[in-house]
């Protein structure tokens, strides 16, 4: 504790927190890792220099540091470790927007929604939109290379990161990239840090690329009596146009949402698609009509189109509400496996069979246009046998996805929960390459130990 006192003394008052109740609230992120440790302290710096102080101190004292954004991660990437520091970026909230270069320089603690709002005030748009955009931090988005609904057209977080300031394990601050739309000077280190889940350094500032504002979308909703028909429609649509959203909900999700929102969804449907085009003017309506036609020709039992933004948003909100709605049925293990588009129907069919075989409720919602699914495994934690079946299903779904040419994680990250499946997915050569990079940047292994590797 003498050592911690030295750190406390070096930082502004209140930066280092050791109150046990507060520490307890920083043990887990939304993955609720049961193996979470209790940190020595939570440190909430405001400036890059303070992050450097923390990491210099941690390196000198061999103390592990777990970087944390808003703690909304779903893979245990911010699970605290015993005797370590949780370095929370929640007080790093500055943002400046340059409308001329269409870039923003933001600190990592800002919510994704706060970034969107700040740039919108300058008539600009930051596209990536994880469903959790109102509660997740931009720093966490960078750590996981977060996706979202509009990513099918607009790409993921890394596509909008032009530059970073990162603090390395030894406390060195490094600037990578910057407000230049093209820059190939040196290795692509900016891109390496995006998605590194706090294992290579702590991001203290990001330069984001922004777009002109999105046009009001036209939305198409369709119900299907078979998952395969919905999946066929996804392929037919993405072969021809670039929808701004192409979301899937299965029967369990439809009913769970309808239980709560009572908006008249078709409870008998096997699948529902929520699609949108944000093309300007007549093109948006034309795309919506094309998607409606494809849905019908693929066997949709009901198709509804609207150019009214509020009406459209209601369906998007229903899709976003699927996770909390299914969560009302029990505790969730939240998956995010992805497959090549052609394997989407097989993946969902395999999960349905798994649910039937195990008696578990498993709902599948998906960013269908990306082949990125969120199987939601419902279980009762008080029921030990069911919990075990759920945990087995969590792994079996990853194995199923990998067997279909897919990945164990499309947008949530490996964190600690998915770590056991990473070697099987990547293979020994790519695992070794991950380790070499980690060792080169954090030889003492103090940064987020136990995450990814």
């Amino acid at each position: 504790m003498t050592n911690l006192a030295a750190l406390t003394a070096e930082l502004p008052d209140g930066t280092v927190v050791t109150d046990p109740d507060i520490l307890a609230s920083y043990r887990q992120d939304r993955a609720f890792d049961p193996d979470a440790g209790t940190p020595l302290a939570v440190v909430r710096p405001r400036r890059t220099e303070e992050v450097q102080t923390v990491l210099r101190w941690a390196s000198a004292n061999g103390v592990p540091v777990v970087p944390r954004g808003q703690g909304t991660g779903l893979s245990g990437g911010a699970t605290a470790v015993d005797g370590g520091i949780v370095l929370s970026t929640e007080k790093m909230l500055d943002i400046t927007v340059d409308p001329v270069t269409r870039t923003a320089v933001a600190q990592p603690g800002l919510l994704n929604s706060e970034v969107k709002k700040a740039v919108a005030e300058h008539g600009l748009w930051y596209p990536p939109d994880p469903s959790s955009f109102e509660i997740c931090s931009i720093g966490g988005n960078i750590a996981t290379n977060a996706g979202g609904l509009c990513c099918v057209k607009y790409g993921v977080t890394t596509d909008y990161v032009l530059g970073l300031q990162v603090v390395l394990a030894d406390g060195t601050a490094v600037r990578l990239g910057g407000p230049r739309l093209k820059d190939v000077a040196g290795l692509s280190l900016t891109k390496l840090f995006v998605g590194s889940e706090g294992t290579l350094g702590v991001v203290t500032e990001v330069t984001l690329r922004l777009l002109p504002p999105q046009h009001t979308p036209c939305t198409v909703v369709a119900s299907f009596d078979s998952v395969r028909s919905a999946a066929d429609a996804v392929l037919a649509i993405t072969a021809k146009i670039r929808p701004a959203m192409l979301e899937f909900m299965d029967s369990v999700a439809i009913n769970a949402v309808e239980d709560k929102l009572k908006m008249g969804l078709d409870r008998g449907a096997a699948a529902m698609m929520v699609a949108a085009s944000d093309e300007r003017g007549a093109n948006g309506a034309e795309d919506a009509e094309f998607m409606a036609t494809v849905f019908t020709e693929s066997g949709a039992t009901e198709v509804f189109s609207t150019a009214d933004p509020d009406e459209g948003e209601a369906f998007v909100a229903a899709r976003r509400f699927a996770i909390p709605a299914v969560e009302a049925k029990g505790s969730l293990l939240l998956e995010d496996v992805g497959v090549p588009l052609s394997a989407l129907a097989d993946l969902v069919a395999g999960i349905e069979k798994m649910a039937a075989d195990t008696g578990l409720m498993i709902s599948v919602i998906a960013h269908a246009g990306d082949g990125n699914t969120h199987p939601l495994i419902v279980y009762n934690p008080a029921d030990a046998a069911e919990t075990e079946r759920a945990q087995k299903a969590f792994g079996d779904i990853m194995d199923l996805a990998v067997g279909l040419g897919g990945t164990i994680t499309g947008e949530h990250g490996v964190g600690r929960l998915k770590k056991p499946w990473l070697p099987g997915y990547l293979g020994p050569e790519a695992m070794e390459l991950n380790r070499r990079i980690k060792n080169a940047l954090d030889p003492a292994g103090i940064l987020n130990p136990g995450a990814i590797l």
Copy 2:
């Protein structure tokens, strides 16, 4: 030579070439580095396993390996070194296209234009379009993270690379990523290899993301009597819409092109812009009209719009022809500095002043919408004093760009020609980080020694 005989024996007949005339033709790429060495051999493998054989042999014997695509690089990234191997991917030409997942798996030796053609046969589009697309290889594009004309809207090479197979310095083959649109399992190593200029491994296969076909563009051409007016128009356009092309030519380029093509360009203009929108239907015409209005309001002296694809392509071809046209005036040092968009006019003004002060002919063409310029320094290599002035200007332009918040290379790479300027641009911390990664992946430094670092 005994050692080389061992390599020759391990590879199919004809793979290892030692004919001195052939070796001479592999000494330089289009940077024509005067310090190029003479390789021990040129090796032209066809398969990943053969590349592994080469690298295992090279590692065992401490022989440097310079990977080479079609040798069209402009920064000396494929300059041969004395006693080394040039590993040419020119015979690695397989491609398979999967229209269902909208991906292609290609070997690195294919020309960019061949990739475009192969995927077009399946109704798909590979966007990145360096001006050299008909002569540069896709492997070289990956090595430099190449840009191009449509990148202002569609992004650069890395945005289309979903997966790679790479062979490391020790001969290990590693698969990274694959045909999944989202995948965050493990560190972002695919992205790390893109733009690594052959210093971290040899790319033997790439999985490319493809888009539905581009719509026929509407093209707008405008002449200006001041560079600043043209630059102002760039900012006004990109703040509101996403053009598919926004190209700039200065007075020198306009006149050089007109000398050759005699297409009636305005020889008196200080700048010419060639812009395009590929939005569908009426939106394309609307965007073109918007751009024409902005050009006029920014002070254009002449504005011409066309929805005729052949007429539009003639202007794009004129822009693409600028480099050979200026090259007809003398030898070229071809720059590719980039700046934040707001500094574009200052960069061009600074270069014009440099030309006036030194008496050199320097033409500036630019992917203006990206802030990425190609200053072309014309000199007579037989005139030692002029050559020296040109070489000094080459460096001065990079210093000027960096002083304006820009980069020393937007899309050509550092190679060997720009290496002296990299430390000043990146700073000691980022340089050290580059070195750490290089050392972690190629500890003996046999891969493209002398490039980047």
